[in-house]
Symmetry: C2
Subunit: 378 residues, 2 copies
Amino acid sequence: MIFKIVKKDKKSMARRASLGTRNGVVKTPVFLPIATYGAVKNLSVEEIKNLGAQIILSNTYHLDLRPGLDVIKKANGLHEFMNWHGPILTDSGGFQVFSLAKHRKLTEKGVEFVDPINGKKHLLTPEKSIQIQLDLGSDIIFVFDDCPPHPSTREEIKKSMELSLRWAERCKKYFDKKLNPKSTDKRPLLFGIVQGSIYKDLRQESAKRIAEMGFDGFAIGGVSVGEPREYVTKVLEWVMPLLPEDKPKHLLGVGKPEEIVKAIGYGVDMFDCVIPTREARHGRLYKFSQSSRGPSSVKLQRTGLCKSSFYEIFNITNAKFKRDFKPIDKDCGCYTCQNYSRAYLNHLIKMKEPLGWRLATIHNLYFYMETVKRASEF
Amino acid sequence: MIFKIVKKDKKSMARRASLGTRNGVVKTPVFLPIATYGAVKNLSVEEIKNLGAQIILSNTYHLDLRPGLDVIKKANGLHEFMNWHGPILTDSGGFQVFSLAKHRKLTEKGVEFVDPINGKKHLLTPEKSIQIQLDLGSDIIFVFDDCPPHPSTREEIKKSMELSLRWAERCKKYFDKKLNPKSTDKRPLLFGIVQGSIYKDLRQESAKRIAEMGFDGFAIGGVSVGEPREYVTKVLEWVMPLLPEDKPKHLLGVGKPEEIVKAIGYGVDMFDCVIPTREARHGRLYKFSQSSRGPSSVKLQRTGLCKSSFYEIFNITNAKFKRDFKPIDKDCGCYTCQNYSRAYLNHLIKMKEPLGWRLATIHNLYFYMETVKRASEF
């Protein structure tokens, strides 16, 4: 792996860098569209590419259950199966097993759970999570971690964090054993995950100990499990200085556009979030505010100098858009804004025409990528 | 309008022709994808074009109710609204008002009905149907007809057919009044519709009298309202010889691939049907039989010399496709078969991922167009 910092901001910890993976170089800061089941909902791989997406995120938990790992292995991996030949990052299933599965039983070994769809029993362990991600053919692999709900007591979080640290060790050990460390050019990357919830000392202890283990990169987890939103920046303030500067950092599952911009100011390099695609399916579309044209206002947010919003959200199904023949945003370069009107989107989404969800998804993902791009200009 | 017959088959009444419309020339025989609400379900206009679609069909009844004619007028017509700049054919709303609306009241003037979604009262008359189609900017306009259900008595059908003939006269009169007959290069085309259900004498009387009115083309209606399927070919046998050879003929709402092939053998030029797109959404996919490769067996069906099926339908959600990494049809040239496996489609459609419906729709429409193409080779 080569992670090369290209330029640093003078007014914040933001940086631009390039991250080499075995399926191509990713320029950071970067936003990853989510392909939970091996497809970004409503989009084709060509549309993802045309949006400028460099890397996508897929879900270990979901793909292991459906279609099942054996299917994807037989397809020669996820890249072949879904016809996406750029880099793929996979989460470890840790978060999903705690938020989606039923009848979980947590032990030192791992997590036993029941598939909520067919009632079958499964066991996910640190070693198994890594093996699944290796079998999927992932380019960036995450360690398997325990994701306690919010709120949890300090004691509960402490116990969970210690378990996650032991699991991280097991993940690394298994990963190193499975891969020949000498053939570095072809191996996937392994990222550790910082936990510790809203407790400063636990977050910092987790960051230090995960940093010491020497991963290829680091993710900050547990900041989208229901805590008050101010903890997103607090956690970054606590942990970012303790993680190696020369390694990529991924903020898991965050978030709103202003949170991403602020996180870039703290030095975060990678983001994934379901918000833009999920909102699109409900007709809620993003648009840069007229008063904040150009990168300047996004930049001011990054450095904390401006708190006013640089964007608006509007619901395209609102009656006022029925006869509005302007594009969503006349200054937007996305396929949707270049070709279709608000009135057409209003009509399609009200009629539940799948093309409407597609066009809205394209626009919102473009907005997120454009936000990251503007926040990276210095 | 210029309808020019390019080549006639020696063994049947099939012919190849070109049909000039104000938005481009259509080579016939042709299959029209259906864009009920101004979008072919699950597809973009680029995908429709890439499939080789030359002309699409939209629904007057649906678009008049939602988004409403005022919206599409303000968008400068349906072509602009949906970003499709090729020819558009619109049905008259006659069939839909009888199959979808509630509390219909049929009078000499037209049909009063209640919108089943919002309960509002509407009145559709022959004149209003033509005006809506003119306002939509349609390139091929259909007369407004009465569509009685099957089964109906001979008396009922006779009465309905006479009403449809009077309405056809009113449509033509209104259309001619509204359009300057001298500026022929820019005007849309007007098609009459043959009715008469399963009664030979009524079908033939309808065909003769509609033919005498001198339309730009002719549609055969009422052959997809629930009659036994053998009537599709019977009706064509009865009416095709009575319609002017030098005018295009459209068979409304038909049908299965073998019915389309047979109809081409009777001299039908144009087809529309929801079957390929609807079946795709349920994972039912078409594929030419191995034993009937090439155009020959399709051709034999056209001339009635071979009755064995030239295709198979299979349900891609069937468990046997879960680990099948072949394309749907290795000899198919569609985008889906060129890029994706049966296993991926099985997974996507089971997971209700919209990309699955899209890929299946692309394949089935391609199959229908390929069927028409093969049946047109002589």
